[in-house]
């Protein structure tokens, strides 16, 4: 598919059909993607975009590697761990320059630092980057006596006080909870010096090698779309809602999108959206070597290509 994308310069750019696989169910965090699609930003870059949903069972790394989707959104951790297992995916841009993961407790429980987890019931999302950051914090604070229970991707046990501490996306569940009037105390890994990359945009080594122009066009469109959505919040969110079967609520997703923006513009502001640095990738890798059994010999440099910076 999309062989037409390799047309030479000079001719009018033909439209290439391309799909991208999200990391999760459609939500306000993805407002930029839908806005870019609906505003014709991807079209302008010669791309007819299909946005596919992810979910807890749907691994975007696998689907991109298998060629089902040309591009995808995945955690930086997944890229490194996948490459260590021989999965030939590469990051071609970053979305969340800080980890979106945080650890929440109800305000009244007085959980201020990881040290307060001692003796508490904590939801652990086994096998995810959330577990990595959790282990790192537990190690750093040498916390004992935590009662770990499995995370259910659902907030009800937390709200019902079946657990004291849960894991959440800073811009997603936290916003949802706060809008429901639940006061939270939030712990992030970053405030304790552990700061890996969050979600990144990926493709395969093969695509990168064979269709570099398409990849460049795509990333340009991604960055432009995010910028546009940051500037036109309410219209962007309406695009999101209308394109997802009117299931999402504009007010909630608008708040989510607003909470997402700081993660996009960290490390250099709106000018540097999508641009990655070797230092941050190395930092990410170190954490994974320590807490996710990442093979230390993994070549981090090969895991990402700074399409945007190269422009």
């Amino acid at each position: 598919k999309g062989r037409k994308g390799t047309t030479g310069p000079g001719t009018t750019p033909e439209i290439t059909k391309v799909s991208v696989r999200m990391k999760w169910f459609f939500a306000g965090t993805m407002t930029g993607w839908f806005a870019g699609k609906e505003e014709g930003i991807f079209k302008q870059h010669g791309i007819d975009l299909t946005i596919n949903p992810g979910g807890p069972d749907n691994n975007s790394v696998k689907l991109v590697a298998a060629g089902t989707d040309l591009f995808g959104v995945a955690g930086a951790d997944e890229v490194l761990l996948g490459r260590a297992k021989g999965i030939p995916v590469v990051a071609i841009g970053v979305l969340f320059k800080e980890s979106p993961i945080c650890f929440i407790a109800k305000e009244a429980k007085g959980v201020r630092t990881p040290a307060d987890w001692a003796g508490k019931t904590v939801e652990v999302s086994y096998g995810s980057n959330a577990e990595v950051e959790y282990r790192a914090l537990v190690a750093k604070f040498n916390v004992q006596n935590i009662k770990e229970v499995p995370y259910t991707f659902n907030l009800i046990p937390f709200i019902e006080d079946k657990v004291d501490v849960s894991v959440a996306y800073r811009m997603d569940q936290v916003v949802t909870l706060q809008r429901k009037g639940i006061a939270l105390s939030i712990i992030t890994a970053k405030e304790h010096g552990i700061n890996p990359y969050g979600d990144v945009v990926i493709t395969t080594e093969k695509t990168l090698q064979e269709r570099p122009e398409l990849v460049r066009q795509f990333m340009s469109a991604v960055v432009e779309s995010q910028r546009w959505a940051i500037q036109h919040t309410s219209v962007a969110v309406e695009h999101l809602v209308s394109q997802t079967g009117s299931t999402l609520k504009a007010d909630n997703e608008g708040a989510v999108w607003q909470a997402t923006v700081p993660f996009l513009v960290a490390d250099g502001g709106a000018e540097a959206i999508g641009v990655m640095s070797t230092g941050r990738w190395n930092e990410t890798a170190t954490i994974l070597v320590d807490y996710a059994k990442l093979d230390p010999t993994t070549d981090v440099k090969k895991a990402f290509v700074n399409i945007i910076a190269a422009k």
Binding site: F25, A27, N52, P53, D57, A66, I156, K180, T247
Partner: protein
């Protein structure tokens, strides 16, 4: 009228108790919304829900049809060849026991993003009862009737269509009742892992957003869909096996 009265009475009872419990113990809405609220919401968002429901209905119907056809074919093969049965049955069970959620990405890789993977999940989940019951039914032939056909030296084909098939219908329809609801489940489970429409998608998003009322609306609709499928099968059964109606207890 007489036939639906008990069902209506029962639901009214259940809803009343539910409503009462919610009101009495101040159960928060995000945990368990009162039925009055759920129904009110349901009425208020007709068109969106209709779209989701009809997609799921279509996936379920296709999956049910596919699963049934495949299940019947497999049962027929089993009845015709013991070797086939010995060889394949364990793998039909194995296929059935594979956690769909685990192979969802594979299904998307193989069958794309449209409704096909959902239809296939629905078919996989619903084919198994058909295999088991139909195999049993096709075997559960009256020995004397079999002798009758044998004495006429009926071909296997004839024994099959004129004796085994009619004998197996009560079993087949019991299976279809089971499968019809499984097919709905299958479609919804299929939608949980990677869909951008359908009731499964709606339920997932609502659950994720703590829109518990919406989630209950979605659950309610999927249950209604299951009930609709079930009673459609029951209705067809009445038309197809009129002679079975004389059985004891069907009337009383």
């Amino acid at each position: 009228m007489r036939r639906v009265l008990p069902a209506v009475a029962f639901i009214v009872l259940v809803l009343a108790v539910w409503e009462g419990v919610v009101k009495l113990f101040h159960v928060p809405e995000y945990l368990l919304p009162a039925p009055s609220i759920v129904l009110h919401r349901l009425v208020g968002m007709n068109s969106v829900l209709l779209a989701h429901t009809s997609i799921t209905a279509m996936e379920s119907a296709l999956g049910f049809a596919l699963g049934t056809v495949f299940g019947i074919l497999l049962a027929v093969a089993f009845v015709h060849s013991r070797t086939m049965e010995m060889g394949v049955y364990p793998y039909a069970i194995a296929l059935k026991t594979v956690p769909i959620v685990a192979i969802a990405p594979l299904l998307i890789v193989w069958f794309g993003n449209g409704i096909l993977p959902k239809v296939i999940v629905s078919a996989i989940i619903s084919f198994f009862p058909v295999v088991v019951n139909t195999t049993k039914g096709l075997r559960n032939v009256d020995a004397e009737a079999f002798d009758l056909f044998d004495s006429m030296s009926a071909s296997r084909r004839q024994v099959f269509f004129k004796l085994r098939v009619p004998s197996s219908l009560p079993y087949l329809f019991a299976a279809l009742r089971i499968s019809s609801t499984l097919a709905v489940i299958g479609a919804i489970v299929g939608e949980f892992s990677g869909a951008d429409r359908g009731l499964g998608f709606f339920i997932m998003i609502s659950s994720h957003r703590l829109e518990t009322v919406d989630m209950f609306v979605g659950i309610l609709l999927s249950s209604l869909l299951g009930i609709l499928f079930f009673y459609s099968v029951a209705l067809i059964e009445r038309l197809v096996i009129p002679w079975g109606r004389g059985k004891i207890g069907e009337a009383g």
